[in-house]
């Protein structure tokens, strides 16, 4: 759930469709704390929801985030706060429910590079301090990093730093493309060789330290055959099936996932099942790009062309192959 579109960072790889807009923390459409609780209860009527990820923008910009998390935890839901970590203070942490997991972003062990990717000077020091505080408060922590051309070389050290800060899991996603960030694609998309080196390093860290490492944004086998990595957990788009990952916007609109700007429906006026069972919703995930029809790789059915949301954002249709594939293979 994106509780706000506002963000104090300007990440180079940000795929959000509103990345060029300086969104306010609250606008007249922003759901209140009570409306968020009502809306999540409504969703639970239709689906066995177990976890809610509170994201943004930067969710900690909302002053009532700890109370939103407390409301949802009281409903028996697991809460993950997806944050830069830079705004975590002792005062704030004391207000969060004890089982909250904080997923913090760390882009490099090099502070200067982290700041460059985050688009904010001084961010690295604040992130490190914030995460250190969360660890001191005994919250569960996970490291999240987006692999791009600039930081693909120091993945092992970044995971080590995450473990040193008490992260118990790591998420290493390759950069995902969207239309607003296409002008930067040539600077940011790693070559297949760079991506492979990054995955080799993540595999090394996972096997050496026993940290679970997930690589959740799909890496099609025509880019790298991921079956060689025995310690990494690769994700594929659930395409509306088991483990589907819908995203609720700050204003109650339901989208297929956080990578997509497509509006499936309005949860303030419609039921969750009513929206997701619609033919138009199912059609979003159906197409298989023509290039992939002759693919004979065992992962073909999992892959189906990579991230359909990225294709839709960049080309206006999910029937084309993930734009990352062509960019990566030509980088």
């Amino acid at each position: 759930m994106e509780v706000t579109q506002a963000c104090h960072h300007r990440c180079l790889h940000c795929y959000n469709y509103w990345r060029e807009r300086r969104a306010p923390v609250r606008d007249p459409q922003t759901l209140s704390r009570a409306e968020i609780l009502d809306l999540i209860r409504k969703v639970r009527l239709d689906t066995p929801l177990r976890q809610v990820g509170l994201s943004g923008g930067e969710p900690l910009l909302r002053p009532d985030l700890p109370e939103i998390a407390t409301d949802l935890a009281a409903e028996g839901l697991s809460i993950v706060v997806i944050t830069s970590g830079a705004l975590l203070t002792d005062e704030l942490l004391e207000r969060f429910p004890a089982d909250t997991m904080f997923e913090f972003t760390l882009f490099s062990i090099d502070g200067g590079l982290h700041d460059r990717i985050a688009g904010r000077p001084g961010a690295f020091k604040k992130v490190i301090r914030g995460i250190q505080r969360a660890g001191q408060h005994n919250f569960r922590l996970a490291l999240a990093c987006v692999i791009n051309r600039l930081n693909a070389h120091d993945v092992l050290q970044t995971i080590e730093l995450g473990i040193a800060l008490k992260a118990e899991a790591a998420l290493f996603n390759r950069i995902n493309l969207s239309r607003p960030m296409l002008p930067l694609a040539d600077q940011l998309v790693p070559s297949a060789e760079q991506l492979q080196q990054a995955l080799d390093a993540a595999e090394d860290a996972a096997s050496r330290y026993g940290i679970p490492v997930a690589v959740s944004v799909p890496i099609p086998p025509c880019v790298i055959d991921v079956s060689r990595y025995k310690h990494l957990h690769f994700g594929w788009c659930p395409r509306g099936g088991d483990g589907a990952y819908y995203t609720i916007s700050y204003n109650g609109l339901l989208r297929p996932c956080n990578h997509s700007s497509v509006i499936l429906g309005d949860l303030r006026s419609e039921g969750f099942a009513e929206i997701v069972l619609r033919e138009s919703t199912r059609e979003f995930w159906q197409p298989v790009p023509p290039e992939c029809e002759t693919c004979e790789h065992p992962l073909r059915e999992s892959c189906r062309g990579g991230c359909p949301a990225a294709s839709h954002e960049c080309y206006g249709t999910s029937a084309r192959i993930d734009p990352f594939v062509t960019r990566c293979l030509s980088a």
């Binding site: 994201s55 997991m101 999240a144 959740s216 944004v217 957990h233 659930p238 990952y245």
Partner: protein, 105 residues
């Protein structure tokens, strides 16, 4: 609809005929290995008593307390997270990066 709540039970990892099973009481369930579940990790746990988290009819985690998994973008499909970071390794890395001046002392 009643809320599904995770239940944590004690189970044992058993290896037989190149397959892995978890036994809870008298019931035995095969743990599918492959791309998302690493046989080498399960091998390390063979013979050990572990926490098994069950939600409805499904085993959702082995060897960890229940709680949120990694959630961002597309969720990883692996329901079996069997590794845990050794505290000693964490301390060594903490010291390394504190000495390097990256983590404030």
């Amino acid at each position: 609809m009643p809320k599904p709540k995770p239940v944590v039970k004690e189970g044992k990892i058993v290896s037989a005929n190149r397959k892995f099973y978890v036994t809870i009481g008298r019931s035995r369930r095969e743990i599918p290995t492959g791309l998302f579940v690493n046989a080498a990790d399960l091998k390390k746990l063979a013979g050990q008593t572990v926490s098994v988290t069950i939600l409805g009819k499904s085993i959702v985690a082995i060897g960890r307390r229940p709680g949120p998994g990694i959630l961002c973008y597309v969720p990883p499909p692996d329901p079996f997270v069997v590794q845990l970071i050794q505290p000693e390794l964490q301390r060594v890395l903490q010291q390394k990066y504190t000495e390097a001046g990256i983590i404030p002392g």
